[in-house]
Amino acid sequence: MTTNSIEEASYRRTRRFVYAATLVAIVFVLALPLLL
């Protein structure tokens, strides 16, 4: 296993989590005018 592939495996879940959190935040920002 190369360092690169270890990094990929190590960061996979966190990256996906950040992506999901970003999408949720974007939806929230878009929905903000409606909520207000």
Partner: protein, 507 residues
Amino acid sequence: MWVVYIFLFIIYLGYLGIALPAATAAGGVVYAIGLPIAYLRGLGRVLATRPRDLPAPPRWPQPPADGDPALLQYFYGPARADAEHAVRVAYRSCQELWEMGGDLISDSFEADDATWFTWPLGVGGAIGLAVGSLAGGLIVGVLAVIHLLVVAIFAILVRVLGTALRVVDTAMLRVKNVKMVCPHCYERVPYPAYDCPSATCDKRHRDVRPGKYGIVRRRCQCGTPMNTLLLLGSSKMPAFCPHRGCEHSLEHRPGEAPEIVLPFFGATGAGKTRLLYSMVTQLQAWTDKGQLKAEFGDSSTARELDVAGTLMRSGASTIGTSIELPRASVIRLSLKKGTRILQLYDAAGERFYDTDRTEELRYLNKARTFILVIDPLSVEAFWLQLPAGIQEELRPVRSAAPSPDLAYQQTHQQIEAMGVPLKKARLAIVFSRSDLIGTLDGDVTEWARTELGLGNLIRSTMQNFREVRYFRTAAIMESDGSVDSSIAELMRWVMAREGVQLPGGTP
């Protein structure tokens, strides 16, 4: 005929009136929506799907050259690099979108016979591209700011969590009164270094605590996960002294239990090693009876002290202690009320005669209880009082060392010079060879003052130490195989102040 031309011109104007705004609107919508979609797609490619054709990131954080061989925690560099990478990937997607629009616009002016029909679409598309790109760019900017904010919030949370965990771990060690000392170099160990637990990796991590390499866990460069705190079970990994130049193995799993540093000092041949052996044998006896559990803390101690019981039973003399700096004998003591790690330091008597050699015993300033061992036979005043017959009998075992005052004064000065608050320290003065000089009825202090003529030493110890207690011990085994009760009495006194209640009651 001209009527037909006018009619066609009017129709063409109508077409322009519809085609131009329609192309502008279509171009605007496509780019206002297309650019954010391209950005989100780029973000998804970088953060989620990671396709094989994903271009390499323009910049990737490198761990410090003198740092641990571990991967950086995601929010300590890689997250920022990923954000930059996502913008680059998204920009490339946007470029493709722009190139596609540019091609369509230029095609609209080169449609041979149909150019009169397509140029309004090209012009409208160009206007739409410009306006849509502006709007889309603004939306992309907002999306990028949201992403960066999410990363920043997590980065802050991760740092706060890491600091909180460190504080809790340190507080736990304080509450448990765990202060780690290396038995080899005598230095305080702020936190043990650990080897990667993988059988195929020998990388050493000097500081596994939460930080840039991981909060709850870190990952070795070989890919093996490691716990970051004693609180989280890091003590199960092979531990080492973190001090450069030492780096010895700490097999006794430091950090799990409070450590008790117990130095023996006294003149050559005073009986320090024999006392140590008898204490170990007593602990083994209590272990055999199931009253506590004492085990050697490391293989080196096991090698040295495994013979203690046999030697005590045989009654043979111990071999003179090497003049080299001692390595602590480590004993793990498990009791009903918790575990303690005993570090017993037995240095050669010669080390207590001159400043240079005593200075090297840097473990002295880690101790709060000291054991001074004195051979009463070595005290000239006492020796001269003995009948000639007894003198002849005891001459072979008599220590030829200088007066016990010298070793005491030398060590006392050194302990003080090392900054140990003696007013908080305790001293056990142990007169060895009680088995040879007979039992004593009465006060040991008075006996030492009158019979041994150690009034000055006694006065000095009482003035300097918070608590001093005198013992007469016989480091021998009784006929029934038990260690002389004086050893247990001494141990109970020593350990009681460390919060350990040994079998047999309070001294």
